[in-house]
């Protein structure tokens, strides 16, 4: 279909202080081959040509890996298709005449900066608290093959490391919990021998920072895993719980 007409209900907010509200727009001539963000480009071109301010939204790589795009579309983080980011969502998932709700990722820890752009620096601060292995970048480490790592653990670590830090887990969680994000990073390192050295401390520090940022508590609904564009598994949260518990008890 090359000529879809859509009604968009979009959150508009001038800046962090502004109250903001949902505003209705119509777009016409949308092709099913367009990506969702290209549809937004069409809307913005329309707005600019009519002298209005375009809708601000975060986006960069548009190939599903940078984690910038962050829209809550029709009640779901990154929209209705599972395993995709907003930039990889295509208009063929919608039909002519649809009404589409477009909102920012919402959480107290992700304050809105403008329109659909939110501040996700809380994620960075959690990483500062422990998202690293304390080694120098001197190049004088041991040979890369000096410590064999079981393939199974290496693969699980990779699965956890796929997180793109988009915040869909927080946005979708009814509690705005960041446990999947933190669990993924803690797991990646906990599964590798080089990360185990500081594993317990890492879990404690990252969780302490997560709490300080105002994210909610995890109640194991599993919504985060379903909406995660990279399919990060819930077992990573269990592993985080385990790391934290064993760190607290010993």
């Amino acid at each position: 279909m090359d000529n879809m007409n859509l009604t968009l209900k979009i959150w508009r907010q001038k800046n962090a202080q502004d109250k903001g509200k949902m505003t209705d727009y119509n777009v016409t001539g949308i092709s099913e081959h367009m990506s969702f963000l290209e549809m937004m480009d069409v809307l913005n071109e329309q707005l600019i040509n009519s002298g209005d301010e375009p809708v601000a939204f975060d986006h960069d790589c548009r190939e599903g890996i940078c984690g910038s795009c962050s829209m809550f579309i029709n009640g779901e983080a990154h929209g209705p298709v599972k395993g995709t980011t907003t930039c990889q969502l295509h208009m063929r998932s919608f039909s002519d005449g649809d009404t589409i709700y477009i909102e920012p990722f919402r959480a107290k820890a992700f304050p809105v900066i403008k329109d659909l752009i939110v501040d996700r620096s809380a994620f960075d601060r959690i990483q500062h608290a422990g998202g690293y292995i304390s080694i120098n970048t001197s190049g004088n480490t041991q040979d890369a093959n000096a410590t064999p790592i079981p393939k199974e653990n290496a693969d699980l670590a990779m699965d956890a490391a796929m997180c793109i830090g988009c915040g869909a887990c927080v946005a979708t969680c009814k509690n705005s919990s960041a446990m999947l994000f933190v669990g993924a990073k803690v797991s990646q390192y906990a599964l590798l021998p080089q990360g185990q050295v500081e594993s317990k401390m890492r879990a404690q520090n990252m969780v302490a920072q997560m709490d300080a940022e105002g994210f909610g508590n995890c109640t194991n609904t599993g919504a985060c895993m379903v909406e995660c564009p990279k399919g990060i598994d819930l077992s990573n949260i269990a592993r985080l719980n385990r790391e934290l518990l064993s760190g607290s008890l010993t």
């Binding site: 107290k108 919990s177 969780v207």
Partner: protein, 229 residues
């Protein structure tokens, strides 16, 4: 890396929810086992009830732990719900919770509060009179007044016989308990950090069986006494 943790973390809080949950599930299991005895044999039920009601370890140790667990589980649960609610100040105009999580997991507070309301009724029915008889009136005999017969079975039957409203309330409550357990059972394991590709599916199945069978058992007891007397 140096430690920066002070006090209880959010994970610590949910672990306590899980541990009290485990204890309460264990309690449900033993409560049901005794209740089921009333269907099989009034005498057996009476004897075990008397034992539980007068044994110092049960009364002096397990009962306080139980009360603590119940109170803690509820108060903490509500506090966490409050906190979680605070974590998103502006709500979504459109939120499709059903697209990614079960009703049970999203509404533990509703099923939990329903169970709390039930507990009030249940305490009014059984526990408060029981405490009154034993510790205020000081009658530790367990006998119906003026007889040589245990009172427990009689009291139980009395509550359900010809009491359709109470039975219906009990059934509704146990449906809510079932919904609570359908999420709570497996969630407790996840909270304490247990998740394995091999056993988690088994835990989920066991949890579903537990969550349905236990409330069904309680409902059965109520129905038997409602219908058969």
């Amino acid at each position: 890396m140096a430690s920066k943790v002070q006090g209880l973390t959010s994970i610590g809080r949910k672990v306590i929810m899980a541990l009290t949950g485990f204890f309460l599930m264990f309690f449900l299991l033993q409560h049901l086992s005794i209740n089921m005895m009333s269907v099989v044999s009034a005498e057996l039920f009476n004897e075990v009830s008397h034992f539980m009601g007068t044994n110092p370890i049960v009364q002096g140790l397990l009962q306080p732990i139980l009360i603590f667990s119940v109170v803690f589980h509820f108060v903490w649960g509500m506090y966490l719900e409050y906190q979680n609610n605070q974590a998103r100040e502006i709500k979504y105009a459109m939120y499709k919770g059903s697209a990614n999580a079960s009703w049970m997991s999203r509404n533990m507070i509703i099923s939990g509060l329903a169970v709390l309301a039930f507990l009030a009724l249940h305490f009014y029915d059984f526990w408060i009179p029981e405490m009154n008889v034993k510790y205020i009136q000081g009658d530790m005999s367990g006998m119906l007044s003026g007889t040589e017969e245990y009172r427990y079975y009689e009291e139980l039957v009395h509550k359900f016989k010809g009491q359709p409203i109470r039975v219906v309330l009990y059934i509704i409550s146990f449906v809510m308990l079932s919904l609570h357990l359908l999420h709570g059972f497996q969630s407790s394991f996840q909270s304490v950090g247990y998740n394995s590709t091999k056993y988690t599916p088994i835990i989920k199945i066991a949890g579903n069986i537990f969550a349905i069978a236990i409330p069904a058992g309680f409902v059965l007891v109520a129905l038997v006494h409602f219908l058969s007397h």
